[in-house]
Subunit: 102 residues, 2 copies
């Protein structure tokens, strides 16, 4: 932990509308695109009722650049118009981390 | 956003062993207990394959106190011995937040 280098997490929580047409294709496309961005470190997703996606980034600059990516902007727009009834995006600094492995 | 007051998030991601006996009862008990702690702000969970639980707290002190809660310590121990094949705990400072509602 002494050499822990802080990085950033984006916690995206959401609930969906009943209209899921095209959603899973877009989600996969956007995740694939995120993985190609500079400063991308990782992504984890789960949904049951509420959806939680956490993506990890080297810097706030990397998050800002990704937020403004043109394809991502279109996906965000469609998300608001069609797929999400609610969402929340939290930008967080990861200060400490503990891992357990069997 | 000008008056945004930072708070903390604990991102707990995990994968389970095949032995889930007693897990859901314990998870519910521990979540109920967390909700009674000083400084607790909220909790969100989803699992599909990977499990993601994010809890929100007013301060690092509140997180530390909760980490050391005696019933929580027992649950953590059982988690390592029985239910989890892997987990990761990240302590994060929430610096910004954006919400969308239909």
């Amino acid at each position: 932990m002494q050499n822990f280098k802080p990085y950033y997490a984006v916690i995206f929580t959401s609930t969906q509308t009943k209209d899921t047409e095209g959603y899973s294709e877009m989600a996969k496309h956007i995740e694939d695109l995120a993985k190609k961005q500079d400063g991308f470190l990782g992504i984890e997703s789960a949904r049951d009722g509420v959806g939680i996606t956490v993506s990890y980034w080297e810097s706030l600059e990397a998050i800002k650049t990704w937020k403004q990516n043109s394809e991502h902007l279109i996906a965000q727009q469609k998300g608001r118009e069609k797929w999400y009834s609610w969402y929340n995006t939290r930008i967080c600094k990861v200060e400490r981390e503990y891992e357990f492995k069997l």
